[in-house]
């Protein structure tokens, strides 16, 4: 062995072969490094591309094209007593009047035979609101801006069919179109006409679902985290609980949907499509996330706190509820918000329990039929009409903004309140 070492001459790093070898190794190093950088850039690029695509498609969904319509209420065939509009009978009086026909006639007389086709199917609803607000309109000639039909709307945003583009150019020449912010998109509900859809109905459904989820998952999650971390004896039961919580966190969300369908709907006969059932299902899904985050937060509170409290005579329950839990709360809240954000974006379990119906009015309570924001996105993405593309993307923007806000809040809470012991 020592012979072999002795007979070998020391490596001469200056020879051409050695220099070349080092160069090769260094360039391999650079290549590898670039590969890593490329992977990070590519992944980030996907994210940016996704967001830019959604933003580019969706930003137009927040604007709406409106067409000017002059309605001469006095000469129209409407018979509404303006006095009836001031009392509580206003809705009944308006329902009896043929406003839809009036709008159609006015549009035809102003823009020719195809005039009614320029306006959204729900344009007359806007007229109804206007009349209700100002009954004096009925006695004069009024100029109203009404939502345009979907093809015109798309043409105004520069992507329409040639025919619609031509009509839009004509209207523009007559100074009869304008584009404004689409308030209806934020305040309305689902509709068959893409020009009339809004997300408030779905958003309220999501909100109610999240409330039920939070009300169930947070207390149960925190209490079981406290039990497992502070009191549970080391035995078979505790192990079973731990294993089931860890497994539940990894079960695909659609399985929870099947559970909700089989237990809440078919066994307990709770109302179908209701935020109550959606909330229950999502609560079962969110609870393990809260338990795991809660346990980590409780674990990070140093034992000295407990010892000190026990030392001055606190009971075991007092130690946890007066000292450990308040110190662990920021961590628990962070985990809860992240779990809720995940639940807010969840679609599959809600499809299973029937929250995919066409609901044209916002739900009034947790037992009313409702839909949720991600489900609404899914439903709109299935629509054939082209006007829904921008609405779907706009709804996605709203959803992403909320998720970003929730995650931002979680990060803020963590940075502000988390203590390093």
């Amino acid at each position: 062995m020592s012979d072999a070492v002795a007979t070998r001459a020391p490596t001469d790093w200056k020879t051409g072969a050695m220099q070349q070898r080092i160069r090769r190794r260094y360039s391999a190093e650079r290549r590898f490094r670039l590969l890593g950088l490329g992977a990070v850039m590519l992944s980030a690029g996907f994210l940016v591309f996704l967001l830019v695509t959604m933003l580019g498609n969706g930003i137009k969904g927040f604007t709406q094209t409106e067409v000017r319509l002059d309605i001469d209420f006095e000469k129209s065939a409407l018979f509404i007593d303006p006095a009836a509009l001031r009392g509580p009978s206003a809705d009944a009086a308006l329902a009896a009047a043929d406003l839809e026909g009036t709008v159609r006639t006015a549009a035809s007389s102003q823009y020719g035979a195809a005039g009614a086709g320029l306006l959204s199917e729900s344009a007359w609803l806007r007229v109804r609101e206007a009349v209700k607000e100002d009954p004096a309109l009925l006695s004069r000639r009024a100029t109203l801006w009404l939502p345009a039909a979907s093809p015109i709307d798309i043409a105004a945003k520069g992507e329409g069919a040639p025919e619609a583009e031509r009509i839009h150019a004509q209207l523009e020449g007559r100074n009869a179109v304008r584009t404004g912010f689409n308030w209806n998109f934020l305040t309305g509900s689902d509709a068959t006409d893409p020009a009339a859809v809004g997300i408030w109905g779905a958003f309220k459904g999501s909100l109610l679902t999240m409330l039920v989820t939070l009300a169930l998952a947070f207390p149960v999650g925190v209490l079981s985290a406290v039990y497992l971390e502070e009191y549970a004896p080391r035995n078979g039961w505790t192990d079973t609980i731990e294993v089931s919580i860890n497994n539940l966190a990894a079960v695909p969300s659609i399985i929870f949907g099947l559970l909700g369908l089989a237990i809440f709907l078919n066994v307990m006969h709770l109302p179908r499509s209701a935020p109550l059932v959606g909330g229950l299902t999502l609560a079962l899904m969110t609870m393990p996330v809260i338990v795991i985050a809660g346990r980590n937060a409780i674990k990070s509170v140093p034992p000295s706190i407990r010892d000190a409290a026990l030392g001055v005579g606190a009971s075991k329950i007092q130690v946890v509820f007066h000292h450990v839990l308040p110190l662990a709360l920021p961590g628990i809240l962070t985990g809860t918000i992240i779990g809720m954000a995940r639940a807010l974006g969840e679609t599959a379990p809600l499809l299973m329990i029937g929250m995919r119906a066409f609901i044209a009015s916002p739900p009034g309570g947790v037992t009313d039929p409702a839909t949720a924001l991600p489900v609404q996105i899914f439903l709109w993405s299935d629509e054939v009409s082209r006007g829904f593309v921008e609405k779907t993307s706009a709804a996605i923007i709203v959803l992403l903004v909320f998720l970003l806000a929730m995650n931002g809040l979680a990060i803020y809470l963590r940075n502000k309140f988390e203590r390093r012991w």
Partner: protein, 465 residues
């Protein structure tokens, strides 16, 4: 008192009010004990308050819980026994419709009924509802009052109120932690029960090994494609093809290389910014990915296929798999990140000291040492990918093809579950029950993957610690 749910809230508030009054009264009584010179009472005054409050509220709440589930039946019974209900139609559906209308009239949610019989029944309904609401209110208040009074009499300096209250808190903690077990049992029971009913109609052998999937059972005998075949192999293949092959081809190299770059090469600032940025990829809702796949990626993939001269369909395995791979990147990269960081620094230093470059150290020392963790992470990512629903529902299609052409449309287990359970469904048909059988398979497979992955990761951790 017209609306029964409203009155329930009112009773609840009354009971809570009583409990609160009990809390203050008991605390005041207990405070009076603490006079100087006498023995110190066992518990703080507020514990006496809580003891009384719990005694006042809990029995009443328990009663109300039971009551709310039986009161509907009691009201119904009273209405059925009334003379107005004597000549109702015998047909169940019609009877239900009349009852629903009468109840709406009685609640005041409706002002006029379509059916005259409902109008006749409405006062009976209202009367019965009011009567039972009054009974419930009286019983609940009596329970609350007597419970509170009993507890109040026990308040004395020597009474161990804190111990009693804490015992209850302990019970609540235990019950909360049992809910996880109940959920697991609920999942297993519901899947197993429905799946067994399915397997009593379709043989498990045919389900697990059959090559033909067309669950649409015939409505007419001459209908095409209505064989009602439940061979799930094409579904399993589609799931594996998209989730475990295409998605992993995207996610493993990108995730692993990102993790290596961020842990070994990037400066602390870059790492601090890029790591959360990549994690956003995992936080984007899957429905957004699905829409992205269907709207942007699928047409591009199809265009690419056409350019290659392969006829591509608008829904392809490749589009769904690519997008799913992007979604999975952060899972792979964070697991790889953790396991690379867990490799002892001495191994890395040793390799560098021998003259290896960073990349040689990574390739020859760090990655092999971290391999079990990386494999565990990949297994977790696969389990996540095959359980993923929205991307494949929106982008993968419904045709149960057994193909290895990534430009063709395949279907997956989750897609079929959604397909079978939405739309018109009749319960008890094998078509609906098949969804639960698929769910059971999915549950078992993801569970096994997770257990194996966690075991691999754990075993490897122990080796270094």
């Amino acid at each position: 008192m017209r609306n029964p749910s409203l009155s329930l809230t009112a009773i609840l508030l009354l009971v809570l009010g009583l409990g609160l009054a009990g809390w203050f009264a008991a605390r005041a009584k207990a405070r009076a004990f603490a006079r100087p010179g006498e023995t110190r009472p066992h518990s703080l005054p507020s514990y006496h308050g809580w003891y009384v409050l719990l005694w006042a509220v809990l029995p009443a709440l328990l009663f109300l819980g039971v009551w709310s589930s039986v009161s509907g039946g009691l009201v119904m019974q009273a209405v059925m026994d009334s003379p107005a209900a004597a000549n109702l139609p015998g047909f169940e559906m019609q009877r239900q419709a009349i009852f629903t209308e009468a109840r709406a009239l009685a609640d005041g949610t409706k002002t006029a009924a379509f059916n005259p019989q409902a109008t006749a029944l409405a006062p009976v309904f209202a009367e019965a509802t009011t009567r039972y609401t009054i009974i419930a209110t009286v019983v609940a208040l009596l329970l609350a009052f007597s419970g509170g009074a009993f507890a109040f009499t026990r308040v004395s300096p020597g009474f161990r109120a804190r111990t009693k209250v804490e015992r209850l808190v302990m019970a609540a903690l235990l019950i909360a932690s049992l809910i996880a077990i109940l959920t697991t049992l609920g999942i297993v029971a519901s899947l197993l029960f429905e799946a067994l009913r399915f397997f009593s109609m379709v043989s498990p052998i045919e389900f697990l090994f059959g090559l033909n999937w067309s669950p649409q059972t015939a409505i007419r005998a001459d209908q095409a494609g209505s064989s009602g075949a439940f061979g799930a192999i094409p579904l399993f293949w589609g799931t594996i093809f998209i989730g475990a092959i295409i998605a992993m081809i995207v996610a493993i190299p990108l995730g692993l290389m990102s993790a290596i770059f961020l842990t070994q090469y990037a400066s602390a600032t870059v790492r601090r910014w890029m790591k959360p940025l990549l994690e956003i990829l995992a936080g984007v809702p899957t429905v957004v990915y699905g829409y992205f796949a269907a709207l942007t990626v699928a047409p591009a993939v199809r265009g690419f296929a056409v350019a290659l001269g392969i006829p591509g369909s608008s829904e392809s395995a490749l589009a769904a798999g690519l997008v799913m791979g992007i979604m999975i990147i952060p899972f792979v990269s964070s697991m790889a990140d953790d396991s690379i960081a867990a490799v002892p620094q001495a191994m890395r230093d040793g390799s560098l000291a021998l003259g290896a470059t960073s990349s040689e150290t990574i390739k020859k020392v760090l990655v092999p040492a971290a391999l079990p963790g990386v494999v565990g992470g990949v297994l977790l990512a696969v389990s996540r990918a095959i359980g993923e629903t929205m991307i494949v529902v929106m982008a993968a299609g419904l045709a149960a093809n057994l193909t290895i052409n990534p430009f063709e449309s395949v279907t997956t287990v989750t897609t079929q579950i959604v397909q079978l359970l939405t739309g018109d469904q009749e319960f008890d048909s094998p078509k609906t029950l098949a969804a639960f059988a698929l769910g059971l398979v999915l549950f078992i497979v993801t569970l096994l993957l997770n257990i194996v992955a966690l075991r691999v990761v754990k075993k490897y951790r122990e080796a270094y610690e």
